[in-house]
Each structure stands twice: as structure tokens, then as C-alpha cells.
Amino acid sequence: MQRVFPFFVEAALVTLELTALALILGLVAAAFAAAAKMSRPAILRAIGTVYVSLFRGTPCLIQLFVLYFGGPQVGINLEPFAAGVIGLGLNIGAYMAESIRGAVMAVDRGQTEAARTIGFSRFQTLRKVVLPQAARLMIRPLGVNTVALLKGSALVSTISVVELTYTAQRFIGSTYKPFEIFGVAALLYMIMVYAVARIVDLLDKRFAIA
């Protein structure tokens, strides 16, 4: 067990890296999707809705398979790691879009009315009044999404990304100790999830409205 432990730590770092990159992609996709769904033009709203329903309405595993195994058929050739980041990012982005939208809609309508009656434009109202309040409201839901992303990243082991779950499976063959091996993997996931939860707590406190 001591012999394989360093490989696990390294693999956990890959999982973190994968999660961090997918998180960035997911947040960008989510911001665009949420903005599209809340915009006026029907075509933009439709695009946002299709993206969200497509990625929330199908298994993440299938999305990864379509991208990684189906991609080459339509000229998309991706390394496992890149496919993992893109697949996970686009998937979590759909969930995060709804978290963002929920937070924006949770800001009291009276806030918008007050800003508009002062004479602020729609855009100024959004930027100065609604978004600063929504940003605080979306910290927790986005934190929940990030934890789901971190745990869900185990799926990319199926497209041969050498991360924590893949590494654990690889050592089963040489050690014949699945209980210990998967137990260690689980423990490492838990430590990472705990760290993410702590960061979310800190952010939530830091940005609480006085």
C-alpha cells in the first residue's frame, strides 16, 4: 500500500486539475447560457434552453462517450484529458447556468424597480444592483455544483484519463486488494470535497451582506 500511495497522490492532483479546468469552462458556459436564457431575443433564449436541457437531460457518461468515441467520426480528435475537461465542463455548465439564473431571479423585483425609477438603464441596473446581490446568492449553489463536478470527474476514468479512479482500478490487478485500494481513493475524494466545502464557506462569509 505504501508503495502505491505516491501514485494516488499524483492521481488526486490530476483529478483536482481536471476539476479546476472543467470548473472554469463550466462557469464561462454557464454565464453565457444563463444570460441567453434571461435575454429578450427568443432565439438566444432558445439556444440557452436547448443547451441546458440537452446536458441536464442525458447522462454525463454518454456525453463523454459521444465526445471522445464519437468525436473522431465528425473530425473531433481529442486527447482523453482534453475530452474529459470539455465534457465535464459543458455538463456542469448546464447545472451552473440554472444556479446563476436562480440567484439572479431571487433578487427582489423591487430592487430592479427602485433602480429603474432613479433612471438607471437595464444594463446599469443589472451591473450595479442585481448582479452584486445575485453573486452572493449564487456562491452556495455553485459550491454544490463544484462538489458534484469533483465527484463526477471519476467518470472520465472510462475514457482512460489517468486520474484518481482510473489509478485505483489500475492497481487492483497488481495488489488484489480492492477494499483498501478503493477505500484510499474514497478517502482522497472526501478530503478534496471537504476542502472545496471549506472554501465555499469562506467565500460565503467573506461576501455576506453586512
Binding site: 432613479i118 433612471g119 437595464r122 446581490q133 452572493r136 453586512a210
Partner: protein, 254 residues
């Protein structure tokens, strides 16, 4: 800009929410410096009328004018957006639930409008905020966040915020309805002070006594129409219409 022209004028205002007709042809004219109180039962359309003047509600028919400029002009898209933002800068509105910006301090709540929309230097805006807060009796709260204020204090800050834009008219939408009874007076005092300074005001209220004290004219609305209007003494003491009498009896006996 002539003195004879009304500050606020509403002509034939109509508004429906779905199948419900909330405003059924309202005419209203408010002179410069005049104070008009609008009373009536819940659902009579008085709040909708006030919100229509600020274009928070879009009328289905009729016109709203502010100091010779039509508020609900027939413009579209960005052109209307620019127009309405300009017009709204000249109208202060105070809401039942205050609607202060909770993420900003009292100072920032007040200075945000003048600084961003009028390009007022921050030091000037701060001086303005300070004098307005002194006026509403809250100078010491300048750096507080709204969550630290009582309802009455919030509403007084909201009034200061509206005044900071130096509006031509102030619209009050049940400004004291959400307040604990003992906090109502502090807000009413500020409103009376504005009245004494000849601010043009439209006040939607459930407080008959206050309306009687402060208003030059009282409008009684019911079912989307103005049933009766006149000086407070007439409306409250010798109402002509049966509807008005019934309504007032309920209120004055309560």
C-alpha cells in the same frame, strides 16, 4: 415650461391585467407644488395609476405627461429606453417596501444616482447626501448598511435617495403601509416637511388623517375610476357619492 402647464397630467389612462381592467379611463392633473392624495380600497387601481406615471406599468391607452413631456411616448427599443431613463431621473419614487440597495451603504444608496447618471463629483455627492440625511434626521447613519436600520429609517433614507436626483415630483406608493405604527410618524414628518417646501407630490395612502392634513386635493378611486375628488375637507366631511361615504365610514370607524 410655462407656469400654467400642469406638472403631472394623466389623460384617459387605461390598463388591464389579462381580462381585469384595473384603470378605466383616468384623468388627473397636478399643478406645480400641489399635493394630491389618492385614496381608495385595495384593488381600486391607485397603485397601478402611480406606477403608470413612472412607466413601471405600461398603459394600454391614454397619456402621461410630466412637465410638458410625454412619458409614455410612442418610441421603440433603445430610443424609448433613453427617453424613459431621462424622464425617470426627474421623478422620485418611494415604495411600500423601501427597496434600498442592501449591498450598498446609506451614502452609496444616495450618491449612486447623481454620480453615475449626472456625473456629479463624489465629494459634491457626499455633501448632498449629508445635507439630505440631516434633513430626514439620519446624518449619523451615513455609513450604515440598510440592514442596520429600522423600517422608518429605511424609508427616510429611501426618500433622501429619491430627493438626491432633485426630482420635479415625488411619487409615494403607500410609503408607510409596511411600517410599525410607532414608526409611521417619523416618515410622515419628513413628507410634511417636503410639502412645506412646495414639492409636487402624489401620495397613494391608506392613512386618511395624514391625507387630510397634507393634501391640497384628495382623489377617491374605486373600480379603476376616480369616483370623487376635491379638497380634503369636502371629501372627508361632505362626500357627494355613496361609494365614498361607505368607504370612509369603514375607515373612520376603524
Amino acid at each position: 415650461m410655462s407656469a400654467r402647464q400642469p406638472m403631472v397630467e394623466v389623460r384617459g389612462a387605461r390598463k388591464s391585467f389579462g381580462a381585469v381592467e384595473v384603470l378605466r379611463g383616468i384623468d388627473l392633473s397636478v399643478e406645480r407644488g400641489q399635493i394630491v392624495a389618492i385614496i381608495g380600497p385595495s384593488g381600486s387601481g391607485k397603485s397601478t395609476l402611480l406606477r403608470s406615471i413612472n412607466h413601471l406599468e405600461t398603459l394600454n391607452g391614454g397619456e402621461v405627461w410630466l412637465d410638458g413631456v410625454q412619458v409614455n411616448q410612442n418610441l421603440h427599443g433603445q430610443a424609448f429606453e433613453r427617453h424613459i431613463n431621462k424622464v425617470r431621473q426627474q421623478m422620485g419614487m418611494v415604495f411600500q417596501h423601501f427597496n434600498l440597495f442592501p449591498h450598498l451603504t446609506v451614502l452609496e444608496n444616495i450618491t449612486m444616482g447623481p454620480v453615475i447618471l449626472k456625473g456629479m463629483p463624489k465629494t459634491d455627492a457626499k455633501a448632498l447626501a449629508h445635507s439630505l440625511l440631516s434633513k430626514v434626521g439620519l446624518a449619523e447613519k451615513i455609513d450604515a448598511y440598510p440592514s442596520r436600520l429600522s423600517g422608518g429609517q429605511k424609508q427616510r433614507v429611501a426618500i433622501a435617495r429619491a430627493l438626491a436626483m432633485q426630482p420635479k415630483v415625488m411619487l409615494f406608493d403607500e410609503a408607510t403601509s409596511a411600517l410599525d405604527p410607532e414608526l409611521v410618524d417619523e416618515v410622515n414628518t419628513v413628507m410634511k416637511q417636503l410639502a412645506a417646501e412646495h414639492m409636487t407630490m402624489l401620495i397613494v395612502t391608506h392613512e386618511m388623517r395624514f391625507a387630510g392634513e397634507v393634501a391640497d386635493r384628495v382623489l377617491f378611486m374605486d373600480g379603476g375610476v376616480v369616483v370623487e375628488e376635491g379638497p380634503p375637507a369636502e371629501i372627508f366631511r361632505t362626500p357627494q357619492k355613496e361609494r365614498t361615504r361607505t368607504f370612509l365610514k369603514k375607515y373612520l370607524s376603524a
